[in-house]
């Protein structure tokens, strides 16, 4: 079989993938976590295409979420954590948007959001947990009654029932399943057969992919079928869950990608400062998103020197001794 023949209908450009699957108002779930494996190249393309009114559903997100919010793409947000680790304990544009009442938001916890994706992946309407009993996560509903009527929004934040398997008082929280329109992921490997292999932590990527109507995957490498099928215990998703594949080396920059490159501390520090200032942030978007014509332009802008500095030790998975201040 000719190389890539099995995935020829899924291989496309960033532009085509976003155009085909993401619309104004889409509910989008973001892969990765805070400063690792954020689908940044896809995020930038969403911004470039001027997509509006996105409903983002995520657990802990940093860079991709913050840039999307800052660029005005996001109308509605269900989230557990908006931060970039030590580089921005609270994401700046996220913070500003909530403080200024610019987005509708609903707070959950990380486990709650992950379980909601799991429920969506298992095709069950809700999933029980005891997490959050007594907390204000169960006292405040962020979304209004009007928002609750809209597509892809749960009819209520949660429900509480008595455990029917015991006669003792036992409150159980039921969380509504999530089934986003599109999940966007950046991963290390896609096989020529379409199989996905994520190296290192998978976060909730697999549940997010399986819960979605469509899945767009960007990857560092497309590898031979013979390689990816030799040890299938390591693989993460079968081909039939993935709808679009784009090869984008360094597609998670400035966030990291285990085994390939570290997060970019200089960029993340620079971003935190710039994001505080509306004018500077606008300039940042021009410089790093709107004026970028191709991904090669982007890589050149990061610069060969930095790319090499960020390169991960192939055994340890990160850039040993990288200056991370």
């Amino acid at each position: 079989m000719a190389k890539n023949a099995e995935i020829s209908d899924k291989l496309m450009t960033l532009e085509a993938a976003v155009k085909k699957f993401i619309k104004n108002g889409s509910q989008i779930s973001l892969g990765g976590f805070t400063i690792v494996r954020n689908p940044m190249a896809l995020t930038y393309e969403i911004i470039r295409q001027g997509i509006k009114d996105l409903h983002i559903v995520c657990h802990s997100h940093g860079q991709a979420l913050d840039v999307l919010i800052g660029a005005g793409c996001v109308k509605r947000l269900e989230i557990a954590y908006g931060g970039s680790g030590r580089y921005a304990p609270t994401c700046i544009r996220f913070k500003k948007a909530i403080q200024q009442g610019q987005i509708e938001f609903e707070d959950y916890s990380n486990y709650q959001m992950s379980l909601r994706f799991l429920a969506g992946a298992l095709n069950i309407p809700f999933i029980p947990t005891k997490s959050g009993l007594g907390s204000d996560l169960l006292n405040y509903e962020g979304f209004s009654k009007e928002v609750r009527k809209e597509r892809k929004v749960a009819s209520k934040k949660f429900d509480m029932i008595q455990n029917p398997f015991t006669e003792e008082k036992d409150d159980v929280v039921l969380l509504p399943a999530l089934n986003p329109d599109v999940t966007i992921l950046h991963v290390q490997y896609v096989g020529e057969d379409g199989t996905i292999r994520i190296k290192g932590l998978t976060f909730a990527d697999i549940e997010q992919a399986k819960s979605a109507d469509y899945v767009i995957v960007t990857c560092e490498e497309i590898v031979p079928r013979s390689f990816i099928r030799l040890d299938p215990d390591q693989n993460s998703l079968p081909p039939f869950f993935v709808d679009a594949i784009v090869k984008v080396p360094y597609g998670a920059h400035p966030t990291g990608c285990y085994g390939f490159y570290d997060y970019d501390p200089k960029h993340l520090n620079m971003y935190r400062v710039i994001a505080e200032d509306d004018e500077k942030f606008k300039k940042y978007l021009d410089e790093w998103v709107y004026d970028i014509k191709t991904h090669e332009d982007y890589l050149n802008k990061v610069g060969a020197e930095m790319l090499i500095k960020l390169k991960a030790n192939p055994i340890l998975g990160y850039a040993v001794g990288l200056d991370r201040r």
Binding site: P89, T90, I98, N110, Y111, L115, G134, L201, A204, R324
Partner: protein, 255 residues
């Protein structure tokens, strides 16, 4: 002999001393990561440090800057995901101690990491729960790191993100949370415990050079100081391990 050490170092050491061999330690970012790693390297070599992102027992040759840091995936016994991690925190078979940080804490050890002011249009918005609410619900005990300031130690939280002892007494158990609760609060001034019965916060240790009065003045509610004793400062060996092995790049120790 008197040693120089930073607030973060004293806090990491104070918290690390709570960890026992065999404990499963849930670490967050910053000083919490420092404390977890220090605990394993100094006091409890058989403790296991793990992260909500799914990285279990990483080698931590370099200190991670986020719970998703690539360094959390290196040399682990298992790279899994969030659902796996949180099911470990709550596993009845395991004694799990969690390190958390917060913007506000009340006298029952309940935490706010969500926002200050009106929830819907806050004066200051923070990151949100992340895994804190889950961990506070499920772990065998929570140790919280705080900057000791009046505006942070408050009578009433603006938002209760993570449940400690809830309203005191047995109110936490009555919620349906079968174990856990606030074990200690470690600040830049001292270490607070919680009364076994009332579950109210009390001053357990004040750091060398810090007066009880300073702590009272920086606490936004009345705090029992009758059981207070001076904390044992970090030893030379503790500091050496912390600086040379736990955080050789001095990313967190210095603060």
């Amino acid at each position: 002999m008197s040693l120089n050490y930073s607030d973060n170092e004293m806090m990491a050491i104070s918290a690390g001393r709570f960890i026992k061999d065999g404990d499963i330690v849930f670490a967050g970012t910053g000083v919490s990561m420092l404390a977890a790693t220090a605990a394993k390297r100094i006091y409890a070599p058989k403790a296991v440090v793990f992260f909500e992102t799914g990285g279990i027992d990483p080698s931590l040759d370099e200190i991670p800057m986020a719970v998703s840091d690539l360094r959390v995936m290196s040399g682990t016994c298992l790279n899994s995901g969030l659902i796996e991690a949180f099911s470990i925190v709550g596993h009845r078979k395991l004694h799990t101690i969690a390190f958390l940080g917060a913007a506000q804490i009340d006298k029952y050890g309940n935490l706010n990491t969500t926002s200050i002011g009106n929830y819907f249009r806050p004066k200051t918005r923070f990151s949100g729960s992340g895994g804190a609410c889950d961990v506070a619900s499920f772990a065998s005990g929570v140790i919280t790191f705080m900057q000791h300031e009046k505006r942070r130690f408050v009578e009433k939280l603006d938002y209760l993100t993570s449940v400690g002892w809830y309203k005191g007494g047995d109110s936490r158990r009555k919620l349906g949370l079968v174990r856990g609760g606030a074990l200690a609060v470690v600040t830049n001034l001292g270490v607070m415990g919680f009364d076994e019965k009332t579950k109210e916060m009390y001053l357990d240790q004040y750091y060398p050079g810090v007066s009880i009065k300073t702590i009272q003045e920086n606490t936004g509610f009345d705090i029992d100081v009758s059981r207070a004793k001076e904390a044992i400062p970090p030893t030379e060996e503790e500091l050496m391990i912390l600086r040379n092995e736990v955080d050789p790049q001095r990313l967190i120790c210095k603060a």
